[in-house]
Symmetry: C2
Subunit: 432 residues, 2 copies
């Protein structure tokens, strides 16, 4: 197999090049280890902006970077494009999908999560979720095709269903999607169509709980609710969805005809717990020790969205990028300390730096705990923070350029329908 430099004493294998995995690798720079990082994607994805790809605001390449290119200067790192299929904890090896194995001395599982349907996996074809670039281009295609079909549709009821967009789940992703789709319909698209008035599009955000942005304070949540309604989003709270189909949704006993449904309600961790035969919580996350190791396996760390651990305040550590990064740093420091023979044992301590969410293209809410911001200033802080966290000058410039165009001209640069079309025979060489 690859990664065969036996001369280096300690081999760290990191599975998953999301925020947690990459941070582990960055923080191990200069440590006396060789590293193999395994991901089934060739790119690191900046998930916080994925909803902007789904809503035609950004291009896929603006928020994704080839992993091996990011790590090219680190000669001690081998990058493998491969799917992990399991872990042999006895032999200390990761099994890949092609049957080969990669032996480790220390293993870091940072394999993330996927959207989940609470036992209703049959809903997925009708209500795609948003975790990968393909998810984002699928949702983008569905949104844009719905408007195209509405333009051709003569039946009023079917046209109304085509112009109804349902987003299930009012966390940050759901709120961001709802606000952006409402703006797309009301600001970007009206001039482009002849037979439909896209401003009459219905965007319905359905939340099972009592509040939007439940992780935020009450007043910010109320503010977000009012801001969404001002954008024309209909917010339905306290009404769990009980059915998703090609026709629409059933929620709180009400039926709503909608051609486009997007799932932003729940996640399920990667099968890392199964690989390890370890105890997991309801979302499939491995219940880790206070030092993020797996019980009985101090050589295996689990971090990020696939680890279950509580913060000092007793609440679970949230599945967000800053949490994964803090865990990645902690793990790297622990590995370094072990190799140096320094004492370890200080438990991981999550520090919540704040919660951010945008509502459309000019407003945001930021909950720093004691300091709370909302409105246009919060949006600017959100925007600058996200540009800062992007990797590389080129992508920062490119995203800034895209946002400038959206804000000054209401033009969204990535309104592309690809991989199939509204027509029945997308691959025929008919009219291109």
């Amino acid at each position: 197999m690859a990664a065969a430099d036996i001369s280096s004493p300690h081999h760290v294998v990191v599975v998953g090049a999301g925020f947690g995995g990459l941070e582990t690798v960055h923080r191990l720079s200069g440590a006396p280890v060789r590293i193999t990082i395994i991901d089934r994607r060739n790119h690191h994805l900046f998930q916080p902006l994925l909803y902007q790809v789904a809503t035609a605001s950004l291009a896929t390449s603006e928020i994704a970077w080839p992993i091996r290119h990011l790590l090219r200067r680190r000669r001690e790192i081998t990058t493998l494009l491969a799917s992990a299929a399991g872990v042999d904890t006895q032999a200390r090896a990761v099994r890949l999908d092609d049957g080969s194995t990669v032996a480790y001395d220390t293993l870091v599982l940072a394999t993330g999560a996927r959207h989940a349907y609470f036992g209703h996996d049959d809903w997925e074809p009708f209500a795609p979720g948003l975790k990968t670039l393909e998810d984002a281009t699928t949702i983008r295609r569905r949104i844009l095709v719905a408007f195209e079909k509405a333009e051709r549709e003569t039946d009023p009821a079917r046209r109304a269903a085509l112009l109804t967009f349902v987003i299930i789940g009012a966390g940050p992703t759901g709120v961001e999607l709802a606000g952006t789709i409402a703006e797309l319909a009301r600001v970007t698209l009206p001039e482009d169509f002849r037979n439909i008035d896209t401003r009459r599009t219905r965007v319905v955000l359905i939340e099972g709980g009592p509040r939007v942005l439940a992780a935020f304070s009450d007043d910010l949540s109320d503010y977000a609710l009012r801001a969404l309604e001002k954008l024309g989003v209909e917010v339905e709270r306290g009404s769990p969805v009980t059915e998703c189909s090609a026709d629409g949704v059933l929620y709180g006993g009400k039926r709503l005809a909608a051609a486009t449904i997007i799932w932003a309600a729940g996640v399920q961790a990667s099968p890392a717990a199964e690989w390890l035969a370890a105890a997991a919580d309801r979302a499939g996350r491995v219940k880790v020790e206070p030092d993020l190791t797996v019980p009985g396996h101090p050589e295996i760390f689990v971090i990020g969205d696939t680890a279950a651990i509580d913060a000092p305040d007793g609440k679970p550590v949230p599945g967000i990028a800053p949490a994964a990064k803090q865990q990645g740093r902690y793990v790297a420091d622990t590995i370094r300390a072990r190799l140096a023979g320094r004492p370890t044992g200080i438990p991981f301590r999550y520090r919540h730096q704040g919660s951010l969410a945008t509502i459309g293209k000019r407003l945001a809410v930021i909950d720093f705990g004691r300091v709370k911001l909302r409105g246009a200033l919060a949006w600017w802080i959100w925007g600058l923070a996200h540009i800062y966290f992007l990797i590389g000058v080129r992508n920062r410039l490119s995203v800034a350029l895209s946002w400038l165009w959206i804000h000054t001209r209401d033009q969204r640069s990535s309104r592309l329908i690809t991989q199939g079309s509204a027509s029945a025979a997308p691959d025929r060489p008919a009219a291109r």
Copy 2:
């Protein structure tokens, strides 16, 4: 059906929003007509730069624009996302794939061409061609996955096949692909891999005829050949390919093991001739009258890659953007003259403005007829011309930015493998 404003007297239906179709529509601005433009894609594609998407240099959204957005200010135009399935010349109506029809007074068929395999359609799975955005992302994925698989491969023969790229056809597209892949392997990628030396990649350009860039003068063709060889491309001339398979190609009696084959050798026109039951040439192009109408149907024009007509020098009008645009302008002017009762009858006259092709990222050849340019100056003219012909300030800035990064830092911004991966189970929620 849509497009139902009966008050306007003359209805022009344009099928295909490529260079020819869009130019027709632009040139009809202010004419006393209503227009319906039908395309099975939602975007106009700048095909001359498609090879740069296939080689990870540009993002899909940098060379494609939503058609209805381009035409939003023209209230007399209706844009339909639909596949044309036929033409009822008696009833004067275009049949769409959903069975509905769009009646026309004047019809302009600008439905383009698709790559063709000279009777070997079974080669397509092994040797994809390059005509659509999906083609480009497919080729990009195959190129990038080949390097990824080579990095994991331990068998020397299989590794060599993975690092062998065959391009069939040495027209501008073939030359541009070969040069760019060679640079990708030799300049962009070497630092990123640990187990393979990407500089030892073989890029083999196979041409059935005696020359590369046959449309150019002998000396420019020779220059291109030498420039390609300097980039490390192996050019095989006078050896038609007789077999393509998953293992590689057979050409001139020689077998070459290659995991990646790209088809840049031939095109087949859209089925417009079949729709019209009109005489066609071998490539399926409608043999049009000197005024670009279909024999017996003065109300139907066929233009661009799907029309066969000779230039004043007796050679066929080439299937390139400037030719399609000239024809679009001619057709619009003819329609205007007819509606104004002015005499028509001056035949279409193609003016060849020149041929351009790039070889890698710093060299190009330009054949203006009397003036011939080659080398770095030609590249600058090529680059500026292409940025000029892009639509919109935003895309010009974005492409300029991408090229700046490629030239100064050898970073290609769109090295994304999407829609599947090297692994067997791309949609499993394993390591992301």
